[in-house]
């Protein structure tokens, strides 16, 4: 009997071996198809590679390698000429003339011309394209009317003065316009490429791009592989031959891949691993200030919040930002005492009047304001904080709840919602009271942060309205003198901070793990890192 069992068991073990052993023997490391290969983590799947259909960080990371606008950024985040070798701005700040490089080429060898940009900018504002960032062109002559379908896209104030000379006419001066032209939505697309393939042109085997790299392979959900664009005007200075942007949803999974040597650069750093990494791999952990503010917004449609600036101020004063950044987020973030983050060009962020008060004095002042606002032990404030599902948001909300309890003596209600439910509630402005959000700058200008508080701005999610603030923003918009414009913007921020429509909590930082073999990485506030600026040290090279 035992012998029969053994027969059965051996049959079973043989079957397992037949199935499993070949798999184990098939193990092989990454295959190198020649040339230097940079493996970058990109985060979740990019939604598209069409410059007019994207708006996520991960899509833009890949697109900055594939395409090139009239202007670009250096490795340290300074605006530099790109497809255009130079430009001139008229004295009134409304007319921009660009000279496109003679050597600028698409990946199929076609020259990059002024017509390419005319076509692309018209496509960007054309309602049929349904582009996310048509507003990028909003100051360009006729753009608003085109977006509203009142005029044809051909009437856009963008003209080819010659094959290599482009002119853009604005309705009013926009000092940050050059910075906007470095954004992905302002990248050119190849008209014949779209004519041939329609909306699916941005796929491997079809896409024609004008950047340092061209699209070789896009394995959905896994990776996007790029190879050099041999026709790129600066190809001789590009050092890495191939770039793979690896899709990874989970930050912790991305860390495993980095530790296993599959990635040279990570898209993010998981919060739970930060402290250990700072200890174990301090040289590989790259943390840098970033143009992004994490904040709590008040829904000013709610009567108790709208009519009570003292209450809003008290709530803001009672929060210890230092504790939040040191103990709760603890990944190098900076406490936010201003709305506009530091690092903005030609601008000094304005600070709350109480930012430098000692903690005890600040808390005492907060208690006083809280009572003057009509609240106290006999009438504690009842307020809800809404945030989307994520550990960091939850921990921050708990900490703030505890700070308010300690300083002001009331307990806020915490409400955790799925991201899009939260967004929907914030926009409807009916049930929200206090909500968490982040605001990241698109371009390195204070306008990118302050404009969302203007009356009528679609992103004004607090419902803040202050005619004085609007006037100052308007004055800044009409000002060509950079110093005067700066003064208006700084004054506008002070005005807004005094009204407390939001509680800025901390300034974001960019966080990456960068392998020691990657050379040329430079931290910058926009967190833009083009692969063409990087190189890889051979493992045999001395450090």
């Amino acid at each position: 009997m035992e012998g029969k069992h053994r027969k059965l068991s051996s049959w079973f073990l043989t079957a397992v071996a037949v199935l499993v052993v070949p798999l184990l023997f098939a193990c092989s490391g990454p295959v190198d198809n020649g040339g230097t290969l940079l493996n970058r983590g990109v985060g979740p799947e990019p939604e598209s590679l069409d410059p007019h259909h994207t708006r996520t960080t991960q899509a833009h990371r890949v697109q900055r390698d594939l395409f090139e606008g009239l202007v670009g950024y250096s490795a340290d985040g300074v605006l530099i000429p790109a497809a255009a070798e130079r430009w001139e701005v008229s004295d009134d700040g409304k007319r921009y003339t660009f000279w496109i490089r003679d050597t600028a080429r698409w990946s199929n060898g076609d020259p990059v011309t002024a017509d390419d940009f005319v076509y692309s900018f018209r496509r960007l504002v054309n309602p049929e394209t349904a582009a996310f960032y048509g507003e990028l062109m909003i100051a360009v002559k006729n753009a608003p009317a085109i977006i509203e379908k009142k005029l044809n896209a051909d009437s856009l104030g963008v003209t080819a003065l010659g094959p290599k000379q482009l002119q853009i006419t604005l309705d009013y001066p926009v000092p940050y316009f050059i910075g906007q032209l470095a954004l992905v939505s302002a990248y050119p697309v190849h008209a014949a490429n779209i004519a041939e393939h329609g909306d699916s042109f941005a796929r491997a085997g079809k896409l024609i791009s004008n950047g340092a790299y061209q699209l070789k392979n896009w394995e959905l959900g896994s990776f996007i592989e790029l190879t050099r664009n041999p026709h790129y005007w600066n190809n001789a200075a590009t050092q890495i031959d191939r770039v793979r942007h690896h899709v990874t949803v989970e930050a912790s999974a991305e860390l495993y891949r980095y530790r296993a040597g599959e990635l040279d650069i990570t898209a993010v750093v998981p919060s739970e691993a930060y402290a250990q990494l700072a200890k174990d791999r301090p040289d590989e952990l790259r943390v840098a200030p970033f143009l992004g503010t994490y904040f709590y917004g008040f829904n000013l449609m709610q009567e108790k919040l709208r009519d009570n600036p003292k209450l809003r101020e008290a709530l803001s004063m009672a929060i210890d930002r230092d504790v939040l950044t040191e103990k709760v987020t603890a990944r190098g973030e900076q406490p936010a005492w201003s709305w506009v983050p530091p690092g903005i060009a030609n601008y000094a962020p304005q600070r709350f009047s109480y930012a430098d008060l000692p903690r005890a004095e600040r808390h005492a002042a907060a208690r006083r304001l809280y009572q003057e606002a009509g609240y106290g032990a006999d009438k504690p404030l009842q307020i809800e904080i809404r945030y989307n599902t994520a550990e960091t948001h939850e921990r921050l909300a708990l900490a703030i709840q505890s700070m308010w309890q300690d300083v002001l003596g009331f307990e806020a209600t915490l409400i955790n919602e799925e991201f899009r439910v939260l967004i929907s509630n914030i926009r409807e402005m009916r049930i929200t009271e206090l909500f968490r959000l982040s605001w990241n700058g698109d371009y390195n200008d204070a306008h990118s942060f302050l404009s969302i508080f203007e009356s009528g701005n679609a992103s004004n999610l607090t419902g803040y309205q202050n005619p004085r603030f609007d006037e100052l923003m308007q004055a800044a918009a009409q000002q060509v003198d950079p110093q005067l414009r700066r003064q208006y913007l700084e004054q506008a921020e002070r005005e807004m901070l005094d009204d407390h429509p939001v509680i800025p909590l901390y300034i974001h930082v960019s966080k990456h793990l960068v392998s020691p073999r990657v050379q040329g990485w430079q931290d910058n506030v926009l967190d833009f890192h083009y692969s063409q600026h990087l190189s890889l040290r051979d493992s045999n090279d001395p450090e």
Binding site: K7, F12, S48, A131, T248, R257, A260
Partner: protein, 317 residues
């Protein structure tokens, strides 16, 4: 004659079940359509709000400015022509392309994992049952119990840490293997382990019950060897509970495990479905529901037919 009549009956049964599935499927689509549209937040909502004119242009481009009945009719009309519509998130892709690209990955992984689970689970279950009460039985049962208790989100990172990070013998991710077969190993194990544990327990319990039944005792009394008893008499009836489990289990494993796919960066159906829901990618959600519902209907039909094959009593009914 009897056989051909029997197969005719089976075909009629299958056809009837497939026809009956159409209204079920339509109902599922209608409910899913209403539910995704009722969920707060739209497919193009992000933290940064777009200017209203641009929002309106995007809504018009995707017919989201039409009434719900109009949108539903448009969707059904497309469906009748075999078109699952465009993805709202991945704007250059059709839903059928996205699901089509993910199916082979999930199918290959799921099929290998299920085969492995069946092989090890059924074998382990039989081995434990035949040695009921012995040390071997206790060891196998304990292993199966721990397999059930250990969630995939613990097993999968542990496998990555051991084999990819510390030993460096297997890739940590799908794209890390550059197309090599080795990318299947860890995900297959992570997918198969909980199934192995469950199938082992199920087989063991069922086998013990069958081995204690009268007809097995009779077969043994006739002097048949254990292996012969198991193969010819016990195996078929013992597999019936397992078969009931296999329908939904196969559907589940073939449509991908979100956790395993996220940890290994696998471009499978599980991730696609979850992202579709989170992104409010209406058409992708509906496409996923249709795919999953069809799979469950077909697998249940297959299981029912196999049941008839394994259990003559059901066939006669």
């Amino acid at each position: 004659m009897g056989n051909s009549m029997h197969s005719m009956g089976a075909i009629r049964f299958a056809l009837f079940r497939l026809l009956a599935a159409i209204p079920t499927l339509l109902l599922v689509i209608a409910i899913a359509f209403l539910m995704v549209h009722a969920a707060p937040g739209g497919p193009f909502d992000e933290e940064r709000r777009l200017p209203l004119e641009i929002e309106a242009n995007i809504a018009a481009a995707y017919h989201l400015d039409e009434s719900l009945p109009e949108q539903f009719w448009r969707y059904l009309s497309g469906l009748a022509e075999g078109d699952l519509g465009p993805s709202y998130r991945y704007r250059e892709y059709r839903v059928a392309e996205l699901i089509g690209a993910a199916i082979p990955v999930s199918l290959a992984l799921g099929a290998i994992a299920m085969l492995l689970a069946l092989l090890v689970g059924v074998g382990g279950g039989i081995a434990a049952a035949l040695a009921h009460g012995s040390r071997r039985d206790r060891i196998i049962s304990a292993l199966a119990m721990s397999g059930i208790s250990l969630p995939v989100f613990v097993i999968a990172p542990a496998l990555v840490l051991l084999f990819a990070v510390y030993l460096g013998v297997l890739p940590a991710s799908w794209s890390g293997a550059d197309g090599g077969v080795s990318r299947y190993v860890l995900p297959v194990f992570a997918l198969a382990l909980p199934q192995v544990a469950y199938i082992t327990r199920l087989t063991r319990a069922s086998m013990i019950e069958v081995m204690n039944s009268d007809f097995i005792r009779t077969a043994r009394a006739q002097g048949l060897r254990t292996a012969s008893v198991v193969r010819h008499h016990a195996l078929k009836p013992a597999m019936l509970p397992l078969l009931s489990y296999m329908g939904p289990a196969i559907a589940g494993i073939l449509t991908g495990s979100v956790v395993v796919e996220q940890i290994f960066g696998i471009p499978g159906l599980g991730q696609l479905f979850v992202r579709a829901a989170l992104n409010r990618d209406y058409t992708l959600v509906l496409g996923s529901v249709i795919f999953y519902a069809t799979l469950v209907i077909l697998l249940n039909l297959l299981v029912d037919m196999l049941y008839g094959f394994l259990d003559p009593r059901i066939r006669q009914r």
